[in-house]
Amino acid sequence: MNTTTHYPAAATRIWLVLVVLTMLTWAVGESHLGGPAIVALVLATAFVKGQLVIEAFMGLRQVRAVWRIIMFAYLLLVCALIGLGYAVGLQ
């Protein structure tokens, strides 16, 4: 197997990163923080977490580029449109 992320140590590190990013998002929520900068940070965090799950956990790092691009584009589009919806609400 040439799948580095399927080695337990790499997967464990990624799990730890996901936990830390989740705690960050939770802290933002508990502090009732809002506004464009905070929302951009929260959405960027969600995007990074999603990519980690897609690439490392689902194992798409090892698959044909077309599938990786589709999933990347999907996640980016959804996060960007959520951000756009938020921005429209600021008007």
Partner: protein, 196 residues
Amino acid sequence: MTSAELTLDRTRGNPLPGDFAIWIFIFAELGVFGLLFIAYAFTRAGDVELFNASQSLLDRRSGAVNTLALITSSYFVVRAVAAIKRDRAAVCSRWLIAALGMGTVFIVVKSAEFYAKFSEGVGLDTNTFYMFYLSLTFFHYMHVWMGMVILAVVAWKAAQGHYHAGAHTGVETGASYWHMVDLVWLILFPLVYVIR
């Protein structure tokens, strides 16, 4: 470049993990959830005050604990796939059972959250925010149940010796579905519980 080389080039990299049929399902599910998320974001833009006021009444701790539960269960599923690739069926089965344990945490926490909201008299017709909150989270909740049924079947089959290093598509199929359930929640949690 000859046509044979072109063919080789196009097939570089592995196919999607698991049965391709599950990926059709995964793409369809992601499409539906994506549209619902975007619909939420733009509907919120029309009544920001109502959404912010209702959102502040949600149990963020439940949402965060459930995020941790799904992330951890996804990690356990990665370990299960790694185990079967090394021909360790019993270990694979145990990781899947651990993942089911985390899935159960999610179900218990989310059920308690639904119960608390219904006890407060909150329903689909309370307001637009709650219509989205209940629909989105309940739709996802059903997917967690579905994923747990799949993981339970795969765990049982792994324990029975149905999979080994040379034949583990079933494990990867279940794993892919479960990661999708996790992925959807990773967007749902910040969108509904945090963004304001």
